[in-house]
């Protein structure tokens, strides 16, 4: 009973803040609203015994929203508090598609005769997760590592306007190009 009430409260918060992301009039507020939505979902995860993942979600999202705020201010020179927020186009088709999607998904959620639960959660969820990651699903984590590697390389390549040769000179000896000393 209590779980139900908590769930509903969190659910309303999650959705409401989610809607708020696109309703508030500044990008900073949108960021906060998104973070709130994520926290609410992370808390719901706690309700279904997924403490570890729930906490991870909350932490990751908080961090990410912080990054987003910093990003907007530092890189793009926006003042989050003053940024006007009416940058939308084609509201009506967007609304139509979103409502349509919701109707389809909700209808599926409610009407599909879901199967019954198979098995029970492991006693120690974190341990079982760790074992899965290290054994049966080891390849997932093995693949995640090149993904992260690729992400770092790719993000840096895209985000940095200057490569190492711009900074260190063509022979990487740190020659200051702007000083006019051409490398030999």
């Amino acid at each position: 009973m209590l779980t139900g009430i908590v769930f509903w409260v969190l659910a309303v918060i999650a959705v409401a803040t989610g809607v708020a992301v696109f309703r508030v009039d500044s990008m900073a507020r949108a960021t906060y609203a998104l973070a709130a939505s994520f926290i609410a979902v992370g808390l719901v995860l706690l309700l279904v015994d997924l403490e570890f993942l729930g906490v991870i979600t909350v932490l990751m999202m908080t961090m990410e929203m912080a990054v987003m705020g910093i990003y907007m201010i530092m890189f793009m020179g926006m003042n989050p508090a003053l940024m006007p927020m009416d940058m939308v186009h084609g509201k009506r088709p967007a609304l139509a598609v979103a409502i349509g999607t919701f109707v389809v998904l909700a209808a599926g959620a409610l009407l599909i005769p879901w199967p019954t639960r198979r098995g029970a959660p492991a006693a120690d969820l974190v341990t079982s997760l760790g074992e899965a990651v290290m054994e049966s699903k080891m390849l997932v984590m093995m693949t995640v590592s090149p993904v992260l590697f690729a992400t770092i390389v790719a993000a840096l390549v895209l985000a940095l306007p200057k490569g190492r040769y711009d900074r260190l000179g063509d022979d990487l000896r740190g020659t200051d190009m702007r000083a006019g000393k051409a490398p030999r």
């Binding site: 009506r92 088709p93 967007a94 598609v97």
Partner: protein
């Protein structure tokens, strides 16, 4: 002996082809070479007529290239060879330019005739038959510098080829009936196919023989040189039509209808073309019409199974008509005209020519005891046996032939008018001389025209009949012979006393047959051809374009629909409708001329539609992805 038969066909063919290919360089030797060759052919033909060889060579699957000399061929072959030789002799003096081509074509033609006469299978027959047609085209259009002469050749060739289709049909029928392609097997065909074969052969023969309704080409063919007319339109090509019917008379007899049909067509042609001949003012036209009429007797003979009489008439007519054509040719070369009024008294200028022509005319008139009198009566006896009406029509036709023969005879033997020269040189520049070489063949032919009637009189006639296997056919009685001789003489005298009033124009114009062919066949075909060509260019060739345009219209509609889903559906589809109509209208207005452009435009439009989905607007990509995926989901759940 078979070698001689082969030689009889191949020697003229090879020499002729050689002369044609060599062209002008051989002009000098051509006449002599031609005469020698024709002489050789004549000797050979007499030899094979006596030896009666039968031979064949591989040709098509299921049909050999078969040649044989039977009694019928033995009679006709020497006659044709002889006329060829005489015509070449005459031409050596008559034809001035391009002699090699003339001689070569004539020899080729002669070879084709030899094969036609001796053919034992349908493919062989058709082979020679079509070569005759082609060489006749070339000979009629011999003076190619004048387009109307070539056109006349075209008419002749096309008309006869139309009829030739009957031979293809007959060949198909023979195969379908399973009898094989030999001519002698045709009567054994089962019922429907026998009729088809008979009909095909009948049509082919009527076409070549210039019988109704194919007569008109013969009039046009008079554009050719006179020696050509003498050979093709008396002794050989036209005669081959009659010959074919004589040869397949058993097949005609095997059906219930073919014989009578042939008989009636022959009789009516004899009658009507006799009248036409009577109305002519041009000597060669008169002779041409007469040819068709006289061949009518041959066809009549074949139709009533009077093969012996028909054969005799064929041969006798060959000599007579060749004689007359050559005489006409001699006058044409000398006087430059073939108009009858201008030829008044022409016979008196060159008496030998005149006498020979007179003999020919009298023979043609059927005056006893000249040849055509007896041969015609041999045919008419058969007709009498068949039906009285047929006989009477034939008799009337005989009277008409006496009429036009008399017309010519009296005219050319009238006193030479003082202003004779005024009428000359209407066709060409006359030479005012008739050479010896031109006159010699006339004498030979005149003798032939006089005595060949023996073929239809006892005792030769009986031999001939037995040889041809038609011993039971009726022979003309004395009464009949007398009646016809009397009719001929009476008509001759009538024409002498009361020259003819001008006859109706439709008679002089060959019954309007040429016009009718033009209106009924030629023009519609040409119109159809042009219409089809337009259709091909404007419709079929643009079907691809049209398909592109159609697809593009669909695409445009689809594009509108697509936009409509995204945004103002109703308004845009209305616009789409309007634009669609506009595009359609424009496309139609642009018409065929713009077709090529519209292909390009159609391609562009289609591509434009596809590229319109690539707006560069990311949110539209998202929406379209969502829409497509939703549709896919619906499909998945709906089609289960």
């Amino acid at each position: 002996m078979t070698g001689l038969l082969w030689a009889c066909a191949t020697v003229p063919a090879v020499v002729g082809a050689g002369l044609c290919v060599t062209g002008r360089r051989a002009d000098r030797v051509a006449p002599a070479l031609g005469i020698v060759t024709a002489g050789v052919v004549l000797v050979l033909s007499i030899a094979v007529a006596l030896g009666r060889p039968v031979t064949s060579a591989p040709f098509l699957p299921g049909a050999v290239f078969g040649l044989a000399v039977d009694a019928l061929a033995a009679v006709v072959l020497p006659a044709v060879a002889a006329v060829t030789l005489l015509v070449l002799l005459f031409a050596a003096a008559d034809i001035a330019g391009a002699r090699a081509r003339f001689t070569g074509l004539t020899l080729l033609f002669a070879a084709a005739v030899v094969v036609t006469v001796c053919a034992t299978t349908l493919p062989t027959l058709l082979f020679a038959w079509e070569v005759m047609g082609a060489t006749s085209y070339a000979l009629i259009g011999f003076r190619w510098q004048e387009r109307h002469r070539v056109g006349a050749g075209l008419t002749a060739f096309l008309t006869t080829r139309t009829a030739d289709l009957g031979l293809y049909l007959a060949a198909g029928a023979a195969l379908a009936g399973g009898s094989g392609l030999a001519l002698t097997d045709l009567p054994e065909l089962p019922a429907p196919w026998r009729d088809v074969a008979a009909a095909g052969l009948l049509v082919a023969a009527l076409g070549k023989a210039a019988q109704l309704p194919f007569t008109a080409w013969l009039s046009a063919a008079m554009q050719g040189p006179s020696p050509v007319s003498a050979l093709l339109h008396s002794a050989a090509m036209v005669a081959m039509g009659g010959y074919l019917l004589l040869r397949v008379a058993p097949l005609l007899g095997a059906t219930s209808w073919a014989g009578p049909t042939a008989a009636w067509v022959g009789a009516l042609t004899a009658l009507l073309l006799g009248a036409v001949a009577l109305a002519q003012r041009d000597l060669k036209q008169l002779l041409a019409a007469s040819t068709a009429a006289q061949l009518g007797f041959v066809v009549l003979g074949a139709g009533v199974a009077a093969v012996a009489g028909g054969t005799a008439h064929l041969v006798a007519h060959a000599a007579t008509k060749a004689l007359l054509f050559l005489a006409a040719g001699a006058w044409l070369t000398a006087l430059g005209t073939k108009q009858l009024p201008a030829l008044r008294g022409a016979a008196r200028r060159w008496p030998l020519v005149g006498v020979c022509a007179g003999v020919g005319a009298l023979a043609l008139a059927g005056v006893a005891p000249l040849s055509l009198w007896a041969t015609k009566d041999a045919v008419l006896a058969g007709a009498h046996e068949e039906s009285l009406a047929l006989y009477l029509v034939g008799l009337a036709a005989a009277a008409l032939s006496a009429g036009y023969a008399g017309k010519v005879l009296w005219l050319v033997w009238q006193r030479l008018p003082a202003d004779a020269d005024a009428g000359y040189d209407t066709e060409e520049e006359g030479t005012r001389e008739v050479r010896v070489l031109q006159q010699a063949p006339l004498v030979v032919l005149a003798v032939g025209a006089a005595v060949l009637g023996l073929l239809a009189l006892p005792p030769v006639a009986d031999t001939l009949r037995r040889a041809l296997g038609s011993g039971s056919t009726p022979t003309p009685g004395l009464v009949e012979l007398a009646v016809s001789a009397l009719v001929a003489v009476v008509v001759l005298l009538v024409v002498r006393i009361r020259p003819l009033q001008p006859l109706p124009g439709w008679l002089e114009g060959w019954l309007g047959l040429a016009r009718a062919t033009d209106v009924v066949v030629v023009r519609p075909v040409l119109r159809t051809a042009e219409a089809l060509a337009r259709f091909d260019d404007r419709v079929l060739a643009r079907a691809v374009t049209g398909a592109g345009r159609g697809a593009l219209r669909t695409a445009r509609a689809a594009a509108r629909f697509d936009d409509g889903v995204l945004d103002r559906a109703v308004a845009d589809s209305a616009t789409a409708g309007v634009r669609l109509a506009g595009a359609t209208g424009r496309a139609d207005l642009a018409g065929p001329d713009a077709a090529v452009r519209s292909l390009a435009a159609g391609t562009r439009w289609l591509g434009g539609w596809a590229r319109r989905t690539q707006t560069g607007q990311l949110h539209q990509y998202y929406v379209s992805a969502a829409v497509v995926l939703a549709a896919a989901l619906a499909l998945l759940l709906a089609v289960r």
